[in-house]
């Protein structure tokens, strides 16, 4: 079908205000935050409920048109980029919080609710939704679920997956699937819910999400620890965990990151330090006091250059907010910011830092590293210029070698950003041909015509 009748049909179903087709609109809805990736859809729709999503999917099915779901486009692996054109379904108008159930401690939302909006809404009722990706200010819940997003609180509170109780979605043939519910236990049949989480929009289009809420911690204590060399910071992380203390947050920034963040926030971070750890312990006041003491002791033992405690909640919030800007702040250094998502068992953290240092030297690159140290999840970020071919080649060689070792250590090529377009080759390396083959069969079971978010996770011809 040519585009014109398609547009007309979509307009009839959704209303003209919810369909975009001008080139200027299409152009800006074909990227996410992954550098260097862009594609142009043929038409973009903004459904307001699951019935409208269903209608769009039906139209796409009838005419064999690819569909790509999109939240706020903050993804870091290209998941929402419509590489084969077709229809992009934006969920931003499905942004209602449908229910906050204080008896069952759950919240039910439409797919496009912004993460921080949910956090604030439940906080008003004295409840807590912990997953807090750096992008929480704008990322959508469905985007979080589809990438199984982690966040700064991941170490103690887990990732998005740990909070999803139920999902409603439209399958690629237009049928509705509801899986999970408010009951805390559920073993009826295959765990579709778990399969959908982290599926990067390739199995179904999420329309509604029910998440678990918990009571907020009564007390917390926030520290900044500075280090003269980054390996001691890595050691501090392993030793705190070894001492059986699980902080809610244990985030790391290296020197390059500290400097970029300071350029933006101007809160007096020490520019000469090699690394900084942002550590937060929370919970019952008595436990917090005890753990805080333990953390301080260990920091001193491993030789932190300085340890600073947040003066008050505002100060603590300022420090956490500063950490959230790390990636975007690094982007001010160079035109292109290539970021990776290597994750290793926590005990290998210090070695990973050493390896990053070595490879940075070897390939003559500028690298800033930050990440969720407590989760063993690092984001070594190459600051480069996509117009410099030689530099780009060195950057890719850097990641190749890094991932080889990360996999050898039992790590993963993606801790939280997903595979998308950007990391298809690495996935095959990690899970092998058998893994890819079974994933493809699962994909086929959900989407026999291959219309939903094609070209993601594994290459078409990949075995």
């Amino acid at each position: 079908m040519t585009t014109k009748p398609l547009i007309d049909q979509l307009c009839r179903q959704l209303g003209k205000n919810n369909v975009l087709w001008l080139p200027e609109d299409l152009l800006v809805l074909g990227y996410d935050s992954t550098p260097g990736l862009h594609a142009t859809p043929d038409v973009v729709v903004y459904p307001t409920d699951s019935e409208q999503v269903k209608a769009v999917v039906k139209i796409a099915c009838d005419h064999n048109i690819p569909i790509t779901p999109r939240g706020s486009g903050t993804g870091l692996s290209g998941g929402s980029i419509p590489i084969n054109g077709g229809i992009v379904i934006c969920t931003n108008k499905m942004n209602k919080i449908l229910e906050i159930d204080e008896e069952n401690l759950t919240a039910t939302c439409q797919a496009g609710v912004v993460t921080l909006d949910l956090f604030n809404a439940v906080a008003e009722k004295g409840l807590f939704y912990p997953p807090d990706p750096g992008s929480q200010k704008i990322s959508t819940l469905a985007g979080n679920v589809m990438e199984d997003a982690g966040g700064l609180r991941g170490l103690k509170y887990g990732v998005t997956r740990d909070y999803v109780m139920a999902l409603k979605c439209v399958l690629p043939d237009g049928s509705l699937l509801a899986t999970g519910g408010k009951s805390v236990k559920d073993v009826a049949g295959y765990a579709f819910k778990d399969l959908l989480i982290g599926s990067e929009g390739t199995l179904g289009i999420i329309t509604e999400i029910t998440v678990k809420l918990i009571p907020p911690p009564q007390d917390k204590r926030t520290f900044l620890a500075y280090f003269d060399d980054i390996r001691s910071a890595g050691k501090a992380v392993s030793q705190i965990i070894a001492a059986k203390i699980i902080p809610s947050t244990m985030e790391i920034m290296d020197k390059a990151t500290i400097n970029c963040v300071e350029d933006y926030v101007k809160i007096g971070l020490p520019r000469q330090m090699a690394a900084l750890l942002l550590i937060e312990v929370d919970g019952h006041p008595a436990v917090v006091a005890e753990e805080a003491e333990g953390v301080e002791r260990i920091l001193m033992q491993v030789g932190a250059a300085d340890v600073l405690m947040a003066k008050n909640p505002e100060h603590a919030a300022e420090l956490t907010a500063a950490r959230r800007t790390a990636l975007s702040a690094l982007a001010r250094v160079s035109p292109t910011t290539l970021l990776e998502d290597a994750t290793v068992p926590r005990s290998m953290l210090a070695d990973t830092f050493a390896l990053i240092e070595l490879l940075t030297e070897k390939y003559q690159l500028k690298v800033g590293t930050f990440g969720h140290a407590g989760d063993g999840n690092l984001h070594p970020t190459v600051l480069c210029d996509e117009r410099d071919e030689d530099e780009m080649q060195r950057a890719h060689a850097f990641y190749d070698e890094l991932y080889e070792q990360v996999l050898a250590w039992g790590g993963t090529v993606s801790g939280e950003h997903g595979i998308g377009i950007a990391k298809k080759d690495y996935l095959a390396r990690q899970i092998g041909p058998a893994g890819v083959a079974v994933m493809k069969r699962i994909k086929q079971a959900f989407d026999p015509a291959g219309l939903l978010n094609p070209g993601k996770i594994f290459a078409d011809g990949q075995e």
Binding site: E24, L27, V28, K93, S135, V261, Y264, S328, A331
Partner: protein, 433 residues
Amino acid sequence: MADPKSLGNFTAQDAPTYESLLQCMRCGFCLPTCPTFALTGRERSSPRGRVALARAVAEAKLPFTEAIKEEAFFCLDCRACSTACPSGVNPGEVMEICRSQVHQQQSLPKWQESFRNFILQKMLPDPGRLESSMLPARIYQKLGIQWLVRNSRILKLGPRWFEKAEGMLPELHTPLRQRIPELNLAKGEKRGRVGFFLGCVMTLMYAEVSRQTVRVLSHQGFDVITPKLQKCCGAPHLTEGDRETTRQLAAHNLDLFLELDVDAIVTDCAGCSAALKEYEEILHERREIDKLAKFRSLVKDVSEFLVEWGLRTEQLQPVNRSVTYHDPCHLCHAQGISKQPRELLKAIPGVEFREMNESSWCCGSAATFSLKFTAESQNILDRKLNNVQNTGADILITANPGCHLQLAWGLREAGMPQPVMHLMELLGQATPE
């Protein structure tokens, strides 16, 4: 014909640099702070979308289309995105530059000319008294009326908007510039000497505010020099994309004020101080690095200046009112000045300061009354008025004439009791004669 020096489909003169566009990593942090994105929910009307459009033009993937022109003018230039952007991107500035591209690439519609005449007549009570017949034109540009005219089609304004527009325009007075002595001497122990930059809107519409500013400055111990020969700061021309006129005005003011040999160049118009601080960049072709840097270091918004030198509070009289404060975009986003005005307010004896929610969210002044005509657009102003109301404060304080007009009009339409006052008016009340 393609100019070899041009960047993609931009013309060579006054185009954005490619680096400034590549700098955006598309993280979306700016999206929740952008009023036009909140209004339309359309990515192309967001800072991230606007930079992406400009980048597509720079990469010759898109011609400089009508839609890009629309976005360039739909952008409020409020700079909230610059504050929010950790990567140092300035989408508002990119759009400002695109406006100058509009002039180079497209001819202007005729109705715009006739509207300008209408304003000239309406707004010129006694043309003979004004220094320059261009003054009212500058004002109508500065208040965003021109913006409105250009966008009346996009915004689908009803036919009656003309009348409403008229109703909002305040009375014009004899310009303060002609009445104020060139030198006002310091009172009490003298601390220094400042040059006072008197903005066009201030001199014509808010003469009383600027009179208070000068009085406060002299009471604070500064000789205040207000050169009669000063010209418009050039901000309206920049906003409209006429960068050449801006350069001429900038050069004139720069030389004039540097000759005064003062400790600071102070203004009470946030739009002006923001523009004056950009002279360094606007005039970079003059290659007088030292001179430009000196000028840049001298320019201060009046609140910034007073906090830097320390407010003498001994003689201040109490003002027993509760106040709330609206951050003008050109002060908080363009210049990063938000603590200083609050510090001054809190230093006035008797004043009870109440912070409002979203104090740095644009009041819609760039779009002014125009937006009243669609249900959606009333949101920008309503959002602000709601936040004002929730504070229950007696007085709404701000520090920029554009915001002042918009807020005063909004409060009046909504039947709310608060008067709007410039920060310097309140400080003036506390300052003995």
